[in-house]
């Protein structure tokens, strides 16, 4: 494997990690506030569809992004309504949202575009285009550092940089601000928040909506940044992998970045090396490589990573005790 291949591999790792990272941080806000959200997948899918559809209609990726995010926020509000206001089961609400998004996007897509659930292919301003850093052409000739600057770091779409910037921003919000303190408290002991004169409901809705916002960005990136249009069920389990990464990361932003990069790398390897010849074993089939991220997910969820302690009040609807 030569240097150029490594750079290419890392380059696609960054691209492939981005939706995972955005979804993972989305889940982090929600779960830190005590709302389990298995519906990351559905929110991403809804956003992917509506951003592609609106971008196709208006020719603007930004308007598409707004539409996709709005769709994701609507589903987040629905999840909040079910699990905060009506104190329903958060897992069931999340699963319902996933089914709803999967079915509705295909149905509406077919009705609008008659392309078997796809949206028309996007081009030009209807997609997010790569941002080239200054001097990336001139600097690319410098050995080692040149390719790292101009190929690895430069030339991604806006959302890649947004996702990476969201990591320190999330850390700062969680651990250095009033909102973060209250958000973490409501996920650990909502009674403490309630007796401190704060609204558990308001805090949890805010967390849910931030989750919706980030899922919206992730979905829009999938359909209008990474790909050029929506195809049916294009999230392909990324929402669940993001959840696995969240547990892997023990609900911490910094670890979330590392976990998502790892999953991204595995995906990149699976795409880059379709069949790997391993000496003495023979050819590792492509299916195995494609299955690797999912296998890793299972291994991680089986507790290979040691004890990950979730927020204590996670998954439990809050109601004041009425003795």
């Amino acid at each position: 494997m030569d240097f150029a291949t490594v750079i290419q591999l890392l380059d696609s790792t960054l691209r492939l990690s981005t939706p995972l990272l955005l979804a993972c941080l989305a889940g982090l806000y929600s779960e830190r506030a005590g709302i389990f959200d298995i519906g990351l997948e559905g929110k991403m899918l809804a956003s992917a569809f509506f951003s592609a559809a609106v971008a196709a209609a208006t020719g603007s990726a930004l308007i598409g992004l707004a539409a996709g995010t709005a769709a994701s926020l609507a589903l987040a509000a629905l999840h909040g309504l079910a699990s905060i206001t009506f104190r329903g089961n958060q897992l069931i609400s999340g699963v319902a949202i996933n089914f709803l998004a999967s079915g509705l996007t295909a149905l509406i897509g077919q009705n609008w575009f008659k392309l078997g659930g796809r949206t028309p292919a996007l081009s030009g301003d209807a997609r997010f285009l790569p941002i080239d850093f200054y001097f990336s052409d001139t600097l690319s000739t410098i050995p080692v550092l040149g390719p790292i600057y101009s190929e690895l770091l430069s030339g991604h779409t806006l959302m890649v940089y947004v996702a990476i910037a969201a990591v320190p921003a999330t850390w700062w919000v969680l651990f250095r601000t009033r909102f973060g303190l209250q958000l973490r408290a409501v996920g650990e002991n909502p009674e403490a928040v309630d007796t401190a004169g704060l609204s558990v409901t308001a805090l949890r809705y805010q967390a849910s909506l931030i989750c919706g916002l980030l899922c919206g960005l992730a979905g829009a990136y999938l359909a209008t940044g990474m790909a050029a249009g929506f195809i049916r069920d294009m999230t392909a389990g990324k929402g669940y992998i993001a959840l696995a990464a969240l547990i892997f990361a023990k609900w911490r932003p910094g670890y979330a970045l590392l976990a998502c990069l790892l999953f991204g790398l595995l995906e990149a390897v699976a795409i880059r090396f379709q069949n790997i010849d391993v000496a003495g074993v023979g050819t590792v089939p492509v299916q195995f490589m494609q299955a690797l991220p999912y296998i890793l997910t299972v291994v991680i969820l089986a507790g290979f990573i040691g004890k990950a302690i979730p927020p204590r009040a996670g998954g439990e609807p809050y109601s004041k005790e009425r003795a």
Binding site: R176, T177, R178, A185, A192
Partner: protein
Amino acid sequence: MRANGSESRRETAAPAIELRNISKSFGAVRANRDISLAVAPGTIHGIVGENGAGKSTLMSILYGFYRADAGEIFINGEPTRIPDSNAAIKAGIGMVHQHFKLVHNFSVLENVVLGAEDGLILRSTLTRARKLLTELADEYELNVDPDAIVESLSVGHQQRVEILKALFRHADILILDEPTGVLTPAEADHLFRILRSLRDEGKTIILITHKLREIMAATDTVSVMRRGEMTATLKTSETSPEQLAELMVGRKVLLQVDKKPAVPGPAVLDVENLTIEGERGETALKNISFTVHAGEILGIAGVAGNGQSELLRALGGIEQAQGTVRINGTEIPLEGANSGADARRRNGIAHVPEDRQTLGLVMEFKAWENIAFGYHHDPSYGRTRWLLDIEAARRLTGVALKKYDVRPADPDLTAQSFSGGNQQKIVLAREIDRNPDLLIVGQPTRGVDIGAIEFIHRQVLELRDSGKAILLVSVELDEILSLSDRIAVMFDGEIIGTRNANETDEKELGLLMAGIAEVKTT
């Protein structure tokens, strides 16, 4: 000078808190009926009453958890509406709940500032809180490490964090709900010292408790509640525990248990090197050894969480353990087959668990079902193994409920529709009525009203006098002292000392409970 100053202020100033005609109902239950109360500023005011008398409801109204159906609240003479906790905090009211409302994995500082931050960014608030904590530590003996994680602190220190939380919010009125339930006697004394110095600084303190001794020791004035009504408000110096107990129950109560000397027989329960590994590899029970004789009550004292629960669970067949346990000289298995609760019953052990609502009863089931449980294969409930003679079970239950003074004595009521005291009597009826050789009983009077406590204590003593062995586990030192013939104190999973009940006192036991073992042992 200060004493005089505060004395005169007490006479003239408007009450710190005045409640006028507060009423609150939950469905058909009238929890508070037309309650009026005035608490002078700069005093410690006690509120006593049995469970269900309405103390907690009243305080919840004051702290904005519930809204009163009728009545008015005045804070420092001003009419004040308290629709939620935020309004209570704004009115200068702070509350230390019986079950602490702390975030377990936050630092002390983070817990103190939560909800009272100055601005968007935490840093300045944390600095201000740290400074205040240092000041308060010196002023009121309220020292806690500001950077410690709450779950690593002792219960006494966690309670201080709750008090600091209230002070950080500039509370002038501090309500403490059953604050000493989880404290050692020494920690409780420390708490009362803190409360007194807060009072001397002009704070008003409301102390809710069911322990008359604490009322006598710590308060200036005291109000008594019974069945949702405020029955009396007295100066503490002008009343007595006997008078307060009578006001609480509505009739004369024997506070002292009448007890004949024990006539110990042969050993019934013999425990050697009983050990339980905890969940995280720590030892929950460390090589416990003791003996209980027929006709004797061995009391296990200790602050909650020092291994008493594990001991009960091991003997009751709920948790597996290592070591040797003999009943009447025969060893019984502690692990694997025949080590479950059913096997223990066949071995002649009856178990009244610590928590009647989760281990003692099925709350949704009827009284007769609960009475039959565990003994449902007994021939008295039907001749075949497979069919239950429901009529017989109901009839037998009716008899048992009368005998154990359960009110109402209706076998068809569900367990949850009985009061705490009556629930406990149902469990006792089931366990004692089967004539066990050994009764192990945990917290027999937790959450039970004074009238029922009297009855339960008498039942336990009668069982002893009939020649049975009894192991009594309780965190109430008074209960241990008045019932036990011998007392073993548990600390950190071990028995740190054993004393004869008539040769020891609260002070010595208090030291043992705090882990301070002396040379003297019996």
